[in-house]
């Protein structure tokens, strides 16, 4: 039909129209734009043609036909002129209001670029009703805050693929039923890992209605029974399933899942302690597509490993602390899995190198091996490293590593990129130097708590490993200051450096500031570094995201100001027990708009003024630790309540906050985790009032002295909401001599 029109149009126009037509053909999905073009050029011809036919049929008279033809031609010319004018006006309009000509599809594409930025998308939806509609159809991920408001959201957003309920501690079956009704055709993934109170009936409606469901996270569903597992089995297309800590699920339940979810690729059964070889064996036999299997802490034996190692696509096998797997049992295994790439047998105390070799015999693609805190690494083992020459990552944390083991690794595992010798007591300079000279591709090295290492090791490492991106050497106390200078001079591709509890001074820091690509720098317990050294780092390491200055007691406001000015991408800073730091530091830090984690515990000179400054500007603040900040009071809490809407976790133990301050915090809708030990300004009534006001709280740490004064009815209400109390019995601590903590090694906060 179109081609017929083409032939009848005037010859001069033909080449142009032909190209237009071809363009339309190829760009037909852009119909809205091309449609305008089509009509503006074809319409006159179409109208003319139909008018001509009509006239001919009507008149049957040549004379009339001729006069009509002339008048129609005039009409055609006028129409043509009009259409061209209209086209020009439309083009002009585009210049004034270009956004109007963007199709819904393009607007949706622009919104796709904002997928990580929910706030901007929300602003978009407020512009006008049509934008609201576009945003409603574009959004694919939903993370509800209050479960009571979910029904409105389900109507507003009809095309959700992924629902994340981690902010909702109480999710009942009716909620799951509403979600499955709303998103039966689109839902792909749902996260219920922090929610309780749903039963197998809710799960059944999800699994059976949402046929596209491929990911389901049910970790921590400690009350889930076999009936729940049978409900999961109805999700026939399920590919990824996390069931960590589902303690009540037994072999029967897992058997149902094995039979029902044939397409499973990933399953995590960590801590599902009722499972035995039978259940796990069924998964391995029925779900042939499994790629990743986590069976940590289960009481399984080598019997289930037989079918597991026959899985054709198995890539990852995690068997942390499986006491039932031992050498004797492993001896029966003929051959390992050829496709296996990642194996983790940390804490398997009954497995030695003999058992390990039965497990990896024939696993040619093995690239990641973790033997942390286990018994497999012995001198005998050293003879067999040649079988593991393809390894890229080895973790030997806490193992009794001797020189022969390290020598063997250095000799054979030449493509090694990542090596962890954290807390290995036997590591010496001889070993580290040997390995450094041979593992030239090493990118990540962890020698935390290797107390025998001295400067010589650091010299070797920095000389040979030029591609080093991560170095962790916390508590290598024999390493002298000179070594740190070498790190800065030679390892300039470093992105992560942990020199906590090392001898380092400003000269060392000045050298480290040459590592301009640093993202994470941990220098806890370095009392000799001062503002001078810190400002070198601040000026050069502009990409810094994380900075740990725990107990760096010589740091003052000037140093922190330098960091705030020089590191705009800063997200996490720890200034705990830096007692010279005052409000001025917090004022400077308020420039770091990306700040998410702030730890200022034990800083007596900061007050509510500083905290308010941070709260006002750092809108992304989500973790705050102000324990023992004896000058932060209710005013600080009120600022947080007003501005820090993303706050998830707060520790205000020992702060002079009263009931009013605590209740103010309740307006922060995302607060989930709160520690309020020894807050002397609180009364039982105040705490009860606050607890009622918090809607999304999941975990509260309180002193046991409050337990008796909170009525049982309040306990029930909180439990009903999904909030868990953690009672602590720590006595009131007055800060003793500041060096008393040095006896504990290493430093790890809870």
């Amino acid at each position: 039909m179109m081609r017929m029109l083409m032939r009848r149009s005037s010859k001069q126009l033909r080449p142009r129209n032909w190209f237009l037509f071809k363009q339309l053909e190829s760009g037909s999905q852009n119909l809205s734009v091309n449609g305008i073009t089509f009509f503006s050029f074809y319409f006159p011809q179409i109208v003319f043609l139909f008018h001509l036919i009509y006239t001919l049929v009507k008149d049957y008279c040549f004379c009339n036909f001729f006069s009509n033809f002339l008048s129609l031609t005039k009409f055609h010319c006028n129409l043509s002129v009009l259409m061209k004018k209209a086209h020009k006006t439309m083009q002009a309009m585009k210049l004034v209001n270009p956004f109007a000509s963007l199709s819904e599809e393009i607007k949706s594409t622009i919104l796709d670029c904002l997928d990580e930025d929910s706030e901007t998308k929300k602003s978009f939806s407020l512009v006008c009703k049509s934008f609201h509609s576009i945003e409603s159809h574009q959004r694919k991920t939903l993370k509800p805050l209050y479960i009571e408001l979910i029904s409105r959201i389900l109507t507003r957003y009809p095309l959700i693929h992924h629902v994340d309920l981690t902010y909702c501690p109480r999710v009942e079956d009716r909620v799951l039923w509403s979600i499955s009704n709303a998103y039966w055709s689109t839902l792909k993934s749902i996260n219920l890992s922090r929610s309780r109170f749903f039963t197998h009936m809710g799960l059944s409606s999800l699994a059976s209605k949402c046929w596209g469901l491929i990911e389901l996270d049910l970790s921590n569903a400690t009350e889930l029974t076999d009936a729940g597992a049978a409900a999961i089995a109805e999700a026939k297309n399920l590919e990824k399933l996390w069931m960590a800590r589902c303690k009540l699920v037994s072999d029967i339940g897992i058997g149902c899942i094995a039979v029902g979810c044939k397409k499973l690729k990933l399953i995590c059964l960590k801590w599902c302690v009722r499972l035995t070889d039978l259940g796990v064996g069924l998964i391995a036999t029925k779900c042939k597509d499994i790629q990743s299997l986590d069976l940590s802490y289960l009481l399984i034996t080598e019997k289930c490993l037989v079918p597991i190692l026959q899985l054709q696509y198995l890539k990852e096998l995690i068997l942390v602390e499986c006491p039932g797997i031992d050498d004797v049992g492993l001896g029966i295994l003929k051959e390992s899995c050829k496709s296996l790439e990642v194996l983790n047998i940390s804490k398997c105390h009954n497995m030695s190198n003999v058992g390990l070799f039965s497990l990896i015999n024939g696993a040619e693609r093995l690239s990641h091996l973790s033997l942390a805190y286990g018994s497999a690494v012995t001198d005998d083992f050293a003879k067999c490293w040649y079988k593991l020459s393809g390894l890229k990552s080895i973790k030997l944390d806490g193992c009794l590593v001797t020189f022969s083991t390290i020598k063997a690794i250095g000799d054979w595992c030449v493509s090694l990129k990542e090596l962890s010798l954290c807390k290995c007591p036997g590591v010496t300079d001889e070993g580290v130097s040997y390995i450094a000279q041979r593992l030239l591709q090493l990118q990540k090295l962890d020698i935390t708590c290797c107390h025998k290492i001295t400067c010589a090791s650091i010299d070797s490492i920095t000389n040979s490993c030029s591609s080093l991106t991560s170095l962790r050497m916390e508590a290598c106390c024999m390493v002298a200051q000179e070594a740190i200078v070498l790190i800065g001079q030679r390892c300039q591709s470093l992105k992560e450096l942990d020199i906590t509890d090392n001898e380092i001074d400003d000269e060392g820091l000045e050298s480290i500031s040459r590592c301009t690509k640093l993202l994470s720098l941990k220098m806890g317990v370095c009392p000799n570094i001062t503002d001078c050294g810190l400002s070198h780092v601040a000026m050069s390491c502009q990409k810094l995201i994380e900075l740990d200055l725990y107990r760096c007691i010589s740091i003052t406001d000037d140093g922190i100001a330098a960091v705030a000015n020089g590191c705009p991408a800063l997200e996490s800073i720890n200034m705990a027990h830096c007692d010279k730091v005052t409000d001025a530091s917090l004022l400077s830090l308020s420039q770091c708009l990306q700040l998410k984690v702030l730890e200022i515990r034990g800083c007596p000179c900061v007050s509510s003024v500083g905290l308010s400054a941070v709260a006002t500007n750092c809108k992304k603040l989500s973790i705050l630790d102000i324990k023992k900040c004896c000058n932060i009071d209710d005013t600080g809490m009120i600022s947080l309540a007003r501005y820090s809407q993303y706050l998830k976790q707060i520790n205000l133990s020992y702060c002079p906050v009263t009931d009013a301050g605590l209740v103010a915090l309740a307006s922060i809708s995302r607060l989930q985790n709160m520690t309020i030990l020894h807050v002397t300004g609180l009364t039982p009534n105040g705490v009860v009032a606050a607890l009622f006001a918090f809607r999304g709280l999941m975990k509260v740490k309180l002193h046991t002295s409050f337990k008796a004064s909170i009525p049982q009815s309040v306990h029930s209400v909180m439990e009903h909401r999904g909030c868990v109390f953690h009672w602590r019995n720590k006595a009131f601590q007055v800060e003793t001599d500041p060096n008393g903590w040095q006896i504990q090694l290493p430093r790890h906060d809870g």
């Binding site: 363009q23 000509s101 393009i106 904002l114 407020l126 006008c128 979910i150 959201i153 507003r156």
Partner: protein, 152 residues
């Protein structure tokens, strides 16, 4: 018409300006690629919805991306400089990229547009796009409340 050497196409903008582009570079635009495959490349290819200003930029972009010697980092730097244009031009380029079906340019420009929008408030968006607020006061309040309280 298959010749072993590099063929040059003539692209004509809506304001009749002609641009010479190598075929291997121009076929990044799927619209042009289809035209060439259908054998319509004898004369100049008229691109009626793309004016000369946009076409010049698009050709610059295409040439950078067709160049196999430039690394990813270089391309990223080029993109960063390329998107530093007034917002109306960014939108114009998006429309042109859509018309020509040029995915690489579309991605870069949509990203630039999104990044610009991140910095604006609701009122600024309305101003920039000359959009009338058709919400009533109650409706707007309800949407704001929903946005704030109901989900992240």
């Amino acid at each position: 018409m298959s010749s072993p050497e590099e063929k040059t196409l003539i692209l004509k903008s809506s304001d009749n300006e002609e641009f010479l582009v190598k075929e291997s570079v121009a076929v990044q635009c799927i619209t042009i690629k289809n035209l060439v495959e259908d054998g319509c490349d004898l004369d100049a290819i008229p691109l009626l919805n793309v004016d000369s200003k946009n076409l010049a930029w698009i050709i610059e972009f295409m040439e950078k991306y067709a160049d196999s010697t430039s690394t990813d980092a270089e391309k990223k730097d080029f993109d960063t400089e390329f998107v530093k244009k007034p917002f109306n031009d960014v939108l114009g380029l998006i429309l042109a990229a859509n018309y020509l079906n040029f995915p690489a340019l579309m991605d870069v420009m949509c990203d630039a547009c999104a990044n610009e929008m991140k910095l604006w408030s609701v009122e600024q968006v309305r101003e920039k796009f000359h959009i009338q607020n058709d919400y009533t006061e109650e409706e707007e309040k309800a949407v704001r409340a929903e946005n704030f309280w109901a989900f992240e």
